[in-house]
Amino acid sequence: MHISEGILSGPVLVSGIALAAAGTAIGLRKLDVDRIPRAAILSAAFFAASLVHVPIGASSVHLILNGIVGLILGWGAFPVILVALALQAVLFQFGGITTLGVNTVIMAFPAVLSYYVFGPLVRRRPEIALPAAFACGAASVFLGAILVGLALTLTEKNFLKVSAIVAAAHIPVMIIEGIITAFCVAFLKKVQPEILPGNEIDRA
């Protein structure tokens, strides 16, 4: 869900930077210095996980996983995703500099939302937690696709149809991410439930 260079207008780029900076500031404030090694290694894990490609029909897709990033990190998703995207740019020269802000918001905003909306549900019993996890994975991708469309259309009204196509193209990915997020949450609930949000939400 990256928007590459040269497509978006100035105001959209600048808004992206402002929003990403704000989100990152909040995320950093909630991230104690002693929690940074954990955030960094999780960021590396997400980076590695996003390289995995999963078959879908005749081709394959890379996983986005912003839903589960959100569940595990909350507002910390902003700095972690920003850093992961920056590293992606430097190491793969994929993704942009001017678009770093916008791309961060596209992935991190749904992540944080997932934390608040699905976080409380994910700690409950499996009958509630797993459908919630599916919804989390699917909705995060969906919201990201909507934001991509929004950025494109705000740049240029005539990009509306392109936006629609991009959003539609993400529907299969949504389903797969939903499934994978559900199984992943099931795994974490059994193996290390503390990694998932629980009571911290009240403290936040």
């Binding site: 099931a186 795994f187 059994k190 193996v191 290390q192």
Partner: protein, 243 residues
């Protein structure tokens, strides 16, 4: 041993990682039916590389691999190999990734085409055979070192392989777990290659001992005879318990 069918045959295998020297240099070796071969070598001698080459995780630059008499060359061939030969990794943590023991053991059968119900059944049977009844719903990540090793063995045995490759099976195990694994392997009736640097362990679990040096395999002798000559063996000089 002679006259028995070969299970794994390696002929003139060459393998080197990109930057360095050749790790496997014109290596020739056969494992016959019913044979349990111990393989000794220093760190970096190519023991793990050899096992990975047999499983098709690494491709040799030269040489022939045969399993059950059939030549193994293409990716499709290696997929068949994985149904026939089981590899137990050195670190059980690298082998176990499902939340519960039962799911991890059932993973292999599911890949082999069994239905979930059949997979569960054979998984439970295998756990029973390894005296792991009651472990089905335990979290693999939280098991002790010895328990993880047994479960990782189960995940491979459940696929009923014709041959077993074990990479340093005693790694990370305490005395009690070592004894348990040694006894288990000694009683298992599957052709095996057991890589280990522990002579005592191989004396209990293998019949013939080979060593890997300079990228090649040499026959050292029968396990029983060699045990007595422990101190004079060129490949191994670690202190050992006096039984």
């Amino acid at each position: 041993m002679d006259g028995l069918n070969p299970v794994i045959e390696l002929e003139h295998i060459h393998f080197g990682y990109e930057a360095g020297a050749r790790v496997l240099d014109d290596l020739t070796f056969s494992l016959h039916e019913g044979e349990k071969a111990g393989l000794i070598g220093y760190n970096g001698s190519g023991k793990t590389t050899l096992l990975h080459v047999i499983m098709g995780l690494l491709s040799p630059s030269k040489g022939t691999i045969r399993v059950l008499g059939r030549r193994i060359e293409t990716r499709k061939d290696f997929r068949e190999v994985r149904r026939t030969i089981g590899l137990v990794f050195q670190h059980a943590d690298d082998q176990l990734f499902s939340p519960t023991v039962l799911e991890d053991v059932a993973f292999g059968p599911l890949n082999l085409g069994k239905t979930p119900k059949e997979a569960r059944r054979v998984a439970m049977e295998t756990l029973e055979r390894l005296h792991l009844r009651g472990f089905e719903n335990r979290i693999t990540h939280k098991l002790s070192g010895g328990e993880k090793k047994l479960v990782s063995l189960a995940t491979v045995l459940v696929m009923q392989p014709k041959a077993l490759l074990l990479d340093e099976p005693t790694t990370g195990l305490d005395e009690e777990a070592r004894v348990r694994i040694a006894s288990l392997l000694a009683h298992l009736d599957i052709s095996s290659i057991i890589v280990s640097h522990e002579y005592d362990f191989l004396a209990e679990t293998a019949q013939k001992i080979y060593s890997i040096k300079g990228g090649r395999i040499e026959f050292d002798g029968d396990a029983g005879a060699l045990h007595a000559h422990l101190h004079r063996h060129p490949a191994e000089s670690h202190p050992h318990r006096y039984i």
